[in-house]
Symmetry: C2
Subunit: 591 residues, 2 copies
C-alpha cells in the first residue's frame, strides 16, 4: 500500500503541478469524448480524476472497469481546470487530477441508495446499510463534529485541572432510579450486576477521596423504551468538583459550552447564560425545559375570568386550579374550527379536558365562549393578554400541573407550526431552584426530583421530614432549545442530612444502611462539600447538528429491533451459556 | 464557600507575604508551646499551617478541636520558615501559612489506616475504604498519571487525524471469543445483549464507512476469573485505520507510546522499538511476550545431548521434542538441592515432568545427571552454553510447547529471584509474524490465534483450508517488560478470503452467514484495506506506575467478592425485576 499524499477533499490550487497519491471511493464515473472522469471521494471531500489515453492508456482501461463505490488508489498530477470546467460547487472545483495509475483495491456491488446528501430512503434501509449511510457527507460531517465536540469538552476540562477517572460499568443495582440493565454474575449465581445509570455515587466517593475535580465522558444505561431523543445507552460528560459554589460549577459548564459551540459551529455564545427558576419556567412556559427562542408565553388569567359565568373556568378555579392562556399573535386566520378541534385533541394527551379559544375581530371576542364575557370582562381580558385584532387566544383550565403540561406542549407545537423558531439560534438557559421532591401518585410518597444525594437548601433542611413539599434543592438544569441537555446539583456531604433525606424518602434506617451504608460511612470520613453536573453529549450533538433524532448522531444507534444486522441488538444465546449463569428463561405459556 | 487561591502543595517562596485561602484535609496536628501546627493536605501536596494565639485566638481554639482527616478551610498568610524550621522533605517546606481563620467543613472519624504512603494494611481494608486509600499520595499520584497517559494518547491521536467515534456497549454475542457478559433484554425476552470484548467488528464497519482513522478509549468486557493483571472490565486504546501498512500502524503506536512515556515519566524511549518474530521469541525466551530486560535465554542443546545416555533427554528427542537449557550465570551457590527441588515443582505447573540441573565447579559438571556426560560431552555442553565455574544449568526436555512454557516461566522467575531486572527500564518489543491459527486440543480443530478477521499473509491465503498450520498472519503484538500491552493486525477485506477463513475455522457457509452475514455483506460494498491495534490502558499504567496488580491502577477495581461495599459487585435483585425479564434463577438443589 503506497502512502497517501493528501485527502481528495484537501486538493486546491496550491497543489497544482504536484504528484499525488489518493485513496478513495468512486463517487461517479462519466465517459466523455474518449476520456473517463471519476469523482473520487474520501472523508474530506471529492476531487475529479481524469483518465486520458494520451496520458496512460492502461489507467484508462482499468478506469473503464470501475463502478460506483469501488475503492481505488490513484497516482497522478494535479492540474488547473480550464476556466469553463471550474466547478464552484466543489471545494476542489478549481483543480483535477490527471491519472497516471489506478489500482482497484476492492470492488462494490451497486449500493441500495446513492452515497450523497438528502437521500430519500427509509430509516430501516439506512440502518441496515449503516456503513453506507455513514459514507454520505452529511452523516460523515456529523461524526466529525461529534469528535470536535468531545475533544473540546476534554481539552477544556483538562485545562481546568480536572482528572479523567474511569468508574466501573459493572456495578450494583441501587433503588431510586429508572429501570436498570442487569448482568447476571457467573461467579455468584442469582446475583446481578447493574449497568450504571450514571456514576453518581462513585464520583461522589472520588470527592471523598480528595480528587477535587473529576470528569469522565461516560456511557450510561437506562432500560427504557426508545424515543427520538432517548437511547437506552447514552453518553454523559460527567463532572464533579469539591469546594465550589453552584455558580462556579455553572461558570465551568458555560465555559465548556461556549468553547464547544465555537469549535463545532463557529458561533460565539454570550455568557453568562440566562437563568430562570423552575417556578418561573413552569409559570411562563409550562415547561421545566422551556424553548426560549420564541414567545407565546403562558399568562395566568384566573383573576380576570374568575367571575365569568363559564363553568369550566369557574370550577377549575374553585377546585384550586387555574386558568391560563396563550395569545397566538395574528394567528386567528391560521386556524379553522377543525384545526382548533385538533388542538383540543392534542392537549387532551396532556390531561386537559378541553381547549377553550377566542379570536379577536374588530376589537371583539369571537368564538363559542365569547358569550360568557360581558363587555367589561372582554376588555379586561384583551388588556391582560395584550390581545389585538387577528389574535387567537387559547385557554386551559385545570389543576396547575395539567394546565402547564397542556399549554406547555401546545406552545411548543404552535412555535413550530407557526414557524416562530429561528432554527439557527442556540438558546441556552439555566433552570434553577428546583423542588427537592416530587410527589409520586403511584407510589403514594415523595420521591427525589433529581436523585437522593441532592443537597437541600440550607434553610429547608429542618423541613426534610416534616414538610417535604416545600424543600428546595441546590439543583440546576441546563436547557438548550427546549431540550434538557444536563443537570447538576450540590450534593449532601453531611451524614445526618443524608440520613434525614433517606427517611424523607420512606427508607427505614435499616434499609437505608443496607442499600447505602457504604456511602453514609464515607460521609463520616471527611467528605468535602461537593457538587457537579452531567451533560448529555448525544443531545448536544443532535441539536448542534440541527437534527431531531439521535439516530443521526450516534454511529450505531439502537433500532428497537431484535434482528438488527449490525450486531447492535439482543440475540439468542446457547443453553450452555444460560446454564453457566444458572438462569432459565420462563416459558412463554406460563406467562 | 470561598474560592481557593491555590492548592496546598503549590505554595513556595514566591507566595511569601500573600494571603491565601486553602481547602484541605488535616494530615496531622501537633501542639507545641501554645501553638498548634496542622499539616494540611490536598491533591497537590501538604503545607504546614500555624495557629498562634497572637495572630488569632479564635482560630487557635477551633484548630484545637480538629482531628486527622477533618476537612477545613484556612485563611492565612504565607510566611518564610525560619532557617531551622525548613523541612527539606516537603515540597512546600520553606514556607508555612499563618492562620487567620479556620472553618471546619466536615469532621472525620479516626481512619482505619494512616493516609500516607507505604501503609502496611490488608488489601481488603484498603478496598473497603477505597476513598481513604485513594487519598494516600502514592495512590493519588497513580491516577494523576493515568489521566496524563490517557490525555497523551488522545492528544496524539487527535493530532494525527483520528476521529473518536463511540460504539455501543449493548451488542450481540458472537462466537469465537472469550466468555461474554450477557444482558437480558426486557423487550425481547429470552434474547440477550452481550457486553463487547472489543469493538472489533464495529470499528471495521467504520472503515467500510470511510472514516479512515478511528479511535476510541473504550471499556471491554470478558467474563473471566480475576488475576492480578486481568480484570473482567478493562480499558483499551482502540484504533483502526484504512490504507496503511502494518509498519505505518506500528509507527503510530510507537509515536503514541513515546509521547506517553515522556509525559508520564519524563523518560525518552528510542524508536523504532525492537522487533522479533513469534518464532524467535518462543525459541529464545519460551514466551510470546518476552521480558527482554534480562538475559537467561533458552538454548537448544538437543544436538549436544542427543547421544548422552540419559533417558529423559533421549526419549524427549525421540518423541519429536527437544532439550533446552538456561544458564543461570554464577547462580550455582544461590540454589540448594531443596531450592532446586522447588524449581522442579514450579516448572511442573507448566507441564514439565521434571527439571534437570547441573552446576559447574572447577570446570566440571556436578549434580545428579553429571554422570551421564562423558568428558567430551561435558566440554561440548559447557561450550554450547558458555558455562563457567559457578554457573547453574537448568534443563527441560519435552515437546517444544512444554519446554517453552516451563523454561519461559522459569526464566521470568529467575530474573526476579536473581535480581537481574532493572525495574526502571521500560523495554518495548514488537512480536511479529504470528501463526494465523492455533490448534485447540479440546475442540479438536484450529481456532484463530487472534480473531477470525486477521489477514493471512498474501502468499499463505491458498493454504487457509488445506494446510492451516502453516498460514501466517499479518499480526503484531506489542510487549512491555514481559506484559502483552497490545495487539493488532491487518484485517481481511475481501469477501472470498473471509469466507475461506470461516470455513477453515469449521463454519459451514450457512453458519458463517448466520453469524457474520452482515460483515460479509459489508465486504461487498467497497471495504478498504484496513488494520489497527488495541492497547491495554490498565496494564500500561500499571507498568508505568511500577506496580504488578491492577488493583492499584483502577479506581474501583473488582474484588471478586459479592459483598464489595463500594457498589462495584453483583447484588441481589427483586423478583419483580426478574419477572420483567422473564427470567428465573435455577434452584440450587437442581444443580
Amino acid at each position: 500500500m503506497e502512502k497517501r499524499t493528501s485527502y481528495c477533499g484537501e486538493l486546491n490550487e496550491t497543489h497544482i503541478g504536484q504528484s499525488v497519491i489518493l485513496h478513495g471511493w468512486v463517487q461517479k464515473r462519466r465517459d466523455l469524448g474518449g476520456l473517463i472522469f471519476i469523482d473520487l471521494r474520501d472523508r474530506e471531500g471529492i476531487v475529479q480524476v481524469v483518465f486520458n489515453p494520451e496520458f496512460s492508456k492502461e489507467a484508462l482501461e482499468i478506469a473503464d472497469s470501475v463502478r460506483n463505490e469501488f475503492v481505488v488508489t490513484i497516482k497522478g498530477k494535479v492540474h488547473a481546470r480550464g476556466e469553463k470546467a471550474i466547478n464552484d460547487k466543489l471545494a476542489t472545483g478549481k483543480v483535477e487530477v490527471l491519472a497516471e495509475e489506478i489500482t482497484i483495491l476492492n470492488t462494490s456491488k451497486t449500493p441500495p441508495f446513492y452515497i450523497e446528501d438528502g437521500v430519500n430512503v427509509s430509516d430501516e434501509l439506512r440502518l441496515k446499510y449503516r456503513y453506507l449511510d455513514l459514507r454520505r457527507p452529511e452523516m460523515n460531517n456529523i461524526f466529525k463534529m461529534r469528535h470536535t465536540v468531545t475533544r473540546t469538552f476534554r481539552n477544556k476540562l483538562d485545562a481546568l485541572g480536572f482528572f479523567d477517572i474511569e468508574t466501573p460499568y459493572l456495578t450494583k443495582s441501587t433503588p431510586e432510579g429508572a429501570r436498570d440493565y442487569l448482568v447476571p454474575s457467573r461467579v455468584y449465581p442469582g446475583n446481578f450486576y447493574a449497568l450504571p445509570q450514571s456514576p453518581q455515587i462513585l464520583k461522589q466517593l472520588l470527592m471523598t477521596a480528595g480528587f477535587d475535580k473529576y470528569y469522565q465522558i461516560v456511557r450510561c444505561f437506562r432500560d427504557e423504551d426508545l424515543r427520538g431523543d432517548r437511547q437506552p445507552e447514552f453518553t454523559q460528560i460527567d463532572l464533579e468538583t469539591s469546594f465550589l459554589t453552584k455558580e462556579e460549577i455553572q461558570a465551568i459548564t458555560e465555559d465548556m459550552l461556549v468553547d464547544v459551540v465555537k469549535e463545532a459551529k463557529n458561533i460565539t455564545i454570550e455568557k453568562p447564560f440566562p437563568r430562570m427558576t423552575y417556578k418561573e419556567a413552569m409559570d411562563r412556559f409550562g415547561s421545566d425545559k422551556p424553548d426560549i427562542r420564541f414567545g407565546l408565553e403562558l399568562q395566568n388569567v384566573s383573576e380576570v375570568v374568575k367571575d365569568v359565568d363559564f363553568k369550566v373556568f369557574q370550577s377549575a378555579i374553585e377546585n384550586g386550579g387555574e386558568v391560563k392562556a396563550i395569545n397566538a399573535k395574528a394567528a386567528a386566520t391560521n386556524f379553522s374550527r377543525k384545526d382548533l378541534d385538533a388542538l383540543g385533541v392534542f392537549v387532551a394527551n396532556y390531561g386537559a379536558k378541553g381547549l377553550a379559544w377566542l379570536k379577536i375581530e374588530a376589537g371583539e371576542l369571537k368564538g363559542p365562549i365569547a358569550k360568557f364575557f360581558p363587555e367589561d370582562k372582554a376588555a379586561e381580558l384583551q388588556a391582560a393578554l395584550q390581545a389585538e385584532d387577528g389574535d387567537l387566544l387559547l385557554f386551559a383550565a385545570d389543576k396547575a400541573d395539567i394546565v402547564a403540561a397542556s399549554l406547555g406542549a401546545l406552545r411548543n407545537k404552535l412555535g413550530k407550526d407557526l414557524d416562530l423558531i429561528n432554527e439557527d439560534e442556540l438558546a441556552f438557559l439555566w433552570v434553577t431552584d428546583w423542588p427537592l421532591f416530587e410527589y409520586d401518585e403511584e407510589a403514594g410518597r415523595y420521591v427525589s426530583a433529581h436523585h437522593p444525594f441532592t443537597l437541600p437548601k440550607e434553610e429547608d433542611i429542618p423541613f426534610l421530614e416534616t414538610d417535604s413539599s416545600k424543600v428546595m434543592a441546590e439543583a440546576y438544569d441546563i436547557v438548550l432549545n427546549g431540550y434538557e441537555i444536563g443537570g447538576g446539583s450540590l450534593r449532601i456531604y453531611k451524614k445526618e442530612v443524608q440520613e434525614s433525606m433517606f427517611r424523607a424518602l420512606g427508607f427505614t434506617d435499616e434499609s437505608a444502611k443496607e442499600q447505602f451504608g457504604f456511602l453514609m460511612e464515607a460521609l463520616e470520613y471527611g467528605t468535602p462539600p461537593h457538587g457537579g453536573i452531567a451533560l448529555g453529549l448525544d443531545r448536544i450533538v443532535m441539536i448542534l447538528a440541527g437534527r431531531n433524532n439521535l439516530r443521526d448522531t450516534i454511529a450505531f444507534p439502537k433500532t428497537g429491533s431484535a434482528v438488527d444486522p449490525l450486531t447492535n441488538a439482543p440475540g439468542e444465546v446457547s443453553a450452555a451459556q444460560l446454564a453457566e449463569l444458572k438462569l432459565e428463561t420462563v416459558k412463554k405459556e406460563t406467562n
